[in-house]
């Protein structure tokens, strides 16, 4: 497959983006209004360059008869890139953090377009709601805020960029190379291994109660009927590919034991529209069934991070020697010689 857009256009767009970022990066000795104009102008140039590139790709695909990205993709991409440029170029850290929240919300929009609804909302809650608030706390704790709106009050730390030209050049050479490599190889990308029906319904057999509920709501289950369950695995007896489900009527036999009185197979014509695994079903099943170790690893990482953060951030208070000795004596009297606590009577 040929390149999605020609490399020359791609490199020109990267150069334009680089010029925009270099223009917007903070520098010294500019008048306040001119500086603001540079920053906004730079962000708009970069976002337009990338928006232009995405549009070019879409139009090229449209010419070749391939589908284009959803129309909502373009504003989300524009906002995501523009806000991320504003984030790295803004002189005040609090505004940087707020622009990062904007980037996150724009990428959540793209997640929804990619039908990953759960991750989109989780991202808003975890990133915008938790991580970024922590950042804001630390920014406000650790920064001497300028007293007036005068930019001169900002320290050099925030007001001057380090090697802006070199860094921008390196960054955008990387964008060009990564994108050229990706677009060169995107034609060889394998098509999905599972069929569409499998992707949507492979999880359903593991969720017999959900199937019960949907069939009942669709009016396909009479009183006492339910989906047949495999006796060993507890899975629903169904064939998601052929769209057939086996249902059964449970009851008691002559000795009062549970038994199956009748079974019936629902064919693909009966298959209700609503009977499909949604994103959350598939994600939860994938997480817990296919990657169980990952949850353990994530738990250990979080525990270690909590311990580490507590150890790092605690205040080291210098105790005087006399006080330390008193403390040690106090601890010593709490224990008898055999190590048994004496009830805390120190």
């Amino acid at each position: 497959m040929e390149q999605i857009i020609s490399p020359i256009a791609l490199y020109l767009i990267c150069a334009l983006g680089a010029a925009g970022v270099a223009l917007a990066l903070p520098r010294k000795g500019l008048a306040h209004t001119k500086d603001k104009a540079f920053q906004y102008g730079g962000a708009v140039i970069v976002a337009s360059a990338f928006g232009f590139a995405a549009l070019l790709m879409g139009l090229k695909a449209s010419d070749a008869g391939n589908p284009m990205p959803n129309l909502f993709f373009y504003p989300f991409a524009f906002v995501a890139i523009g806000a991320s440029v504003r984030m790295i170029t803004h002189k005040r850290p609090v505004y940087s953090a707020l622009y990062f929240i904007m980037t996150i919300i724009a990428s959540c929009g793209m997640y929804i377009l990619l039908s990953a609804e759960f991750m989109a909302f989780a991202l808003v809650i975890i990133y915008a709601g938790a991580i970024l608030i922590t950042y804001l706390f630390v920014i406000m704790l650790a920064t001497q805020a300028p007293t007036s709106d005068n930019e001169d009050d900002l320290t050099d730390v925030d007001a001057v960029a380090r090697e802006p030209m070199l860094a921008t050049a390196i960054g955008f050479v990387m964008v060009g190379l990564i994108t050229a490599a990706m677009f060169g190889g995107i034609g060889e990308l394998s098509s999905p291994k599972m069929t569409q029906a499998q992707a949507q319904n492979s999880v359903l057999a593991y969720l017999p109660k959900k199937v019960d509920k949907i069939l009942d709501r669709a009016g396909l289950l009479e009183d006492g009927w339910a989906v047949s369950r495999d006796l060993d695995t507890g899975m629903a007896v169904m064939d998601p590919d052929a769209r057939t489900i086996q249902i059964e009527l449970a009851g008691k036999d002559d000795h009062g034991d549970d038994t199956v009185l009748a079974t019936r197979t629902l064919t693909s014509e009966d298959w209700p529209e609503a009977l499909a695994a949604d994103n959350l079903d598939r994600l939860g099943f994938n997480l817990l069934n296919d990657h169980p170790i990952m949850i353990e690893v994530a738990g250990i990482i979080l525990l270690m991070a909590m311990l580490g953060a507590t150890v790092l951030a605690r205040k080291h208070t210098e105790l005087e020697d006399a006080l330390k000795a008193a403390q040690a004596r106090k601890l010593g009297t709490m224990f008898h010689d055999d190590g048994e606590p004496s009830g805390g009577q120190a």
Binding site: M57, M68, R282, H291
Partner: protein
């Protein structure tokens, strides 16, 4: 072009429909751009908090391409891995911010160049 207007709907395509490479490419492009903007920010800014914020931006870009590839392959592995990335990002934020607070207490400055002697 008109096709795009006619099919205005919330999701890119209803889920089990296959997503063409020509739809995947712009998402990957935006992801690459976001990643490199984060990289530029990490290299140019002197404020340590902003530097760590830029690593979060790079995480975010990686997450976007994971989700896009996951959608392309019709699986949930991409989304599962984004959960893991979120965990690592949260852990990293906690550690990094504790470190920043610790360093700030020692030097009363957020500048990374205040710790030049650590360069070995």
């Amino acid at each position: 072009m008109m096709h795009a207007f006619e099919t205005l709907q919330l999701a890119q395509l209803a889920f089990p429909a296959e997503m063409n490479n020509s739809v995947l490419a712009p998402y990957l492009f935006v992801s690459a751009a976001m990643f490199c903007i984060g990289l530029i920010g990490f290299m140019t800014r002197k404020n340590m908090i902003i530097m760590f914020l830029c690593t979060e931006l790079m995480f975010q870009a990686a997450g976007l391409s994971l989700i896009a590839f996951g959608r392309h392959h019709l699986g949930s592995d991409g989304q599962t891995f984004v959960i893991f990335v979120l965990t690592v990002a949260a852990a990293e934020a906690a550690m990094a911010l504790a470190l920043v607070v610790l360093l700030f207490r020692h030097r009363e400055s957020l500048s990374a160049s205040a710790w030049k002697e650590l360069n070995g």
